[in-house]
Symmetry: C2
Subunit: 318 residues, 2 copies
């Protein structure tokens, strides 16, 4: 019934009286008033003026499968969408439903225990971010799954826009702060991938970050001063991802290397590669066909497949 009240507000030109709504829907004026209040609590801006009635001034930024898929130009990525009001983590939801089709998107308004890499937590508050996971079924070897994370990072940077760049391998930053994190997991045999789940968290309309986080994290709202519509960003990500992913499946990272170099802020910079037991300093010069970072040090060239890489001399996340 609440949705029918909303529909009447949406289709009204200007004001519509409480009487008109109650008459049309066969409910009491008091019930109309309760539904209006519920809608307001969900973020709808509804004005009420004595003797004129109600008017819908603004709608909250709501995520729905329909809205994401509106005019979406993909073949299999995001053609199936599992939307959840709340879940522990969209990666967990995707892993639990791994029999769904290649390219299925899992998205939730809230993650109650969103995950970052290596067991770290990822804050996922309601209404202001994009917390989603893609289920993929590539016919590649487990050791090549790391390459997919580069493709996801590229698609996220392109989908986000606003000058977003990639910090190798796949964190997305604006300036020196992180706007998007990616956590890729897989289920695999030794010679075969069962499935890959790649989780993407994008800070969209966050107004501010607290304490230490404010030095490392940013949002599209903080960077642009404008509230963004999340479904548009999701759609842009899915479209970009499918185009890049198809190229990758045909030609590997080599087919995307030029694009990646342009988006990657790490290449060309002095970096520190931090391993559990030592740190390597050098200059990142390129990525190779496996997506590994090539670092030139005083004692020779090192290929970095994983590990924390920080860009020296820049304050912030990168």
């Amino acid at each position: 019934m609440k949705n029918r009240v909303l529909e009447m507000l949406q289709s009204a030109e200007g004001y519509i009286s409480g009487e008109a709504i109650s008459g049309k829907l066969g409910i009491s004026r008091n019930a109309v008033w309760k539904h209006i209040n519920k809608l307001r609590s969900e973020g709808y801006g509804i004005e009420s003026v004595t003797n004129r009635g109600y008017r819908l001034n603004s709608s909250p930024d709501i995520i729905s499968a329909e809205k994401i898929q509106e005019n979406m130009n993909t073949e299999f990525i995001g053609r199936k969408i599992v939307y959840m009001e709340e879940t522990d983590s969209t990666n967990n939801a995707a892993k639990a439903a791994a029999d769904m089709p290649d390219g299925t998107l899992f998205i939730s308004e809230i993650q109650t225990s969103g995950k970052g890499r290596l067991g770290r937590a990822w804050e996922s508050p309601k209404g202001i971010g994009i917390w989603m996971s893609l289920l993929l079924k590539p016919e590649i070897l487990p050791q090549d799954v790391a390459q997919i994370t580069l493709v996801v990072g590229m698609a996220a940077a392109k989908g986000i826009g606003c000058g977003a760049k990639i910090k190798w391998p796949n964190d997305v930053v604006i300036g020196t702060k992180k706007v998007c994190g990616i956590l890729t997991e897989m289920s695999a045999e030794i010679e075969r991938v069962n499935y890959v789940v790649t989780g993407i968290g994008i800070n969209v309309n966050t107004e501010a970050f607290d304490g230490e986080l404010s030095e490392k994290a940013t949002s599209l709202y903080i960077e642009t001063g404008k509230k963004c519509e999340r479904c548009g960003i999701i759609r842009a990500f899915l479209e970009n991802f499918e185009a890049l992913y198809k190229k990758f499946l045909r030609g590997g990272i080599a087919a995307l290397a030029e694009d990646y170099r342009e988006l990657c802020i790490t290449i060309g910079k002095e970096v520190s590669v931090i391993y559990p037991n030592r740190t390597i300093n050098g200059k990142a010069v390129d990525i190779n066909n496996e997506g590994e970072l090539i670092v030139e040090t005083e004692t020779g060239t090192v290929t970095v497949g994983s590990g924390e890489v920080s860009i020296r001399g820049i304050y912030g996340y990168v």
Copy 2:
């Protein structure tokens, strides 16, 4: 009640009458007779003689956690055992319970859809084989999980005995036929393994294999002419595995290489490495520290990380 009938048979010296059982357990003679028949259908050899009663002559080869752990000398491998009468696949059961402790063993009398590598089926009939999976939580990188499969193969060959050897990487053969197959799966992030599940299938008391399979598969019974007690083999596997696995976690494959070379029939042989789109012929000369097979060909040395490797000139599985 059936188990109490069994207990009375087990504790009787010689024959025990149906009246004695029915009196002691407070059930009818007809009920005793039904339980006896049920026990016979489960493989118990129960003799019945008029005027003397029942006598237990033989017990079936039953698997139980208690029997496996009897005098077992391990610290964490197989200290927790999940026994199932029937499951689809013990690997699936382990993956679904991946929050259980490192070293938990999942074992089932029957697998209704046992899995081999690359989606192949694995026959897992009741009572005559060992169908089990180990849950492991090593702190290693996903690309190093393949090395664990070598350790599992070594432990299986040692646990099975009877001259069992390894066909690289981890099939266990007696002569030219396969007696044990291993399917290792993992859940992982790019830089971290969540867990590894390694499934081990051993043909123990199979009396014969049908058709084509008879040329490729064997069982301990076929090789030795004797029925084997499965719990002893499982225990020997677990003990061998823990010792080898601890060495591996400390020193990698290098720490086990000498042992592996002795067990591996592939090394020193002319082999064909079969890839989806080509075949490489050469001589397998060793394994390296990543557990990969080193093959010398006419045009140079090749390192083989995965793929089907067959030993040339030998008929059968290998």
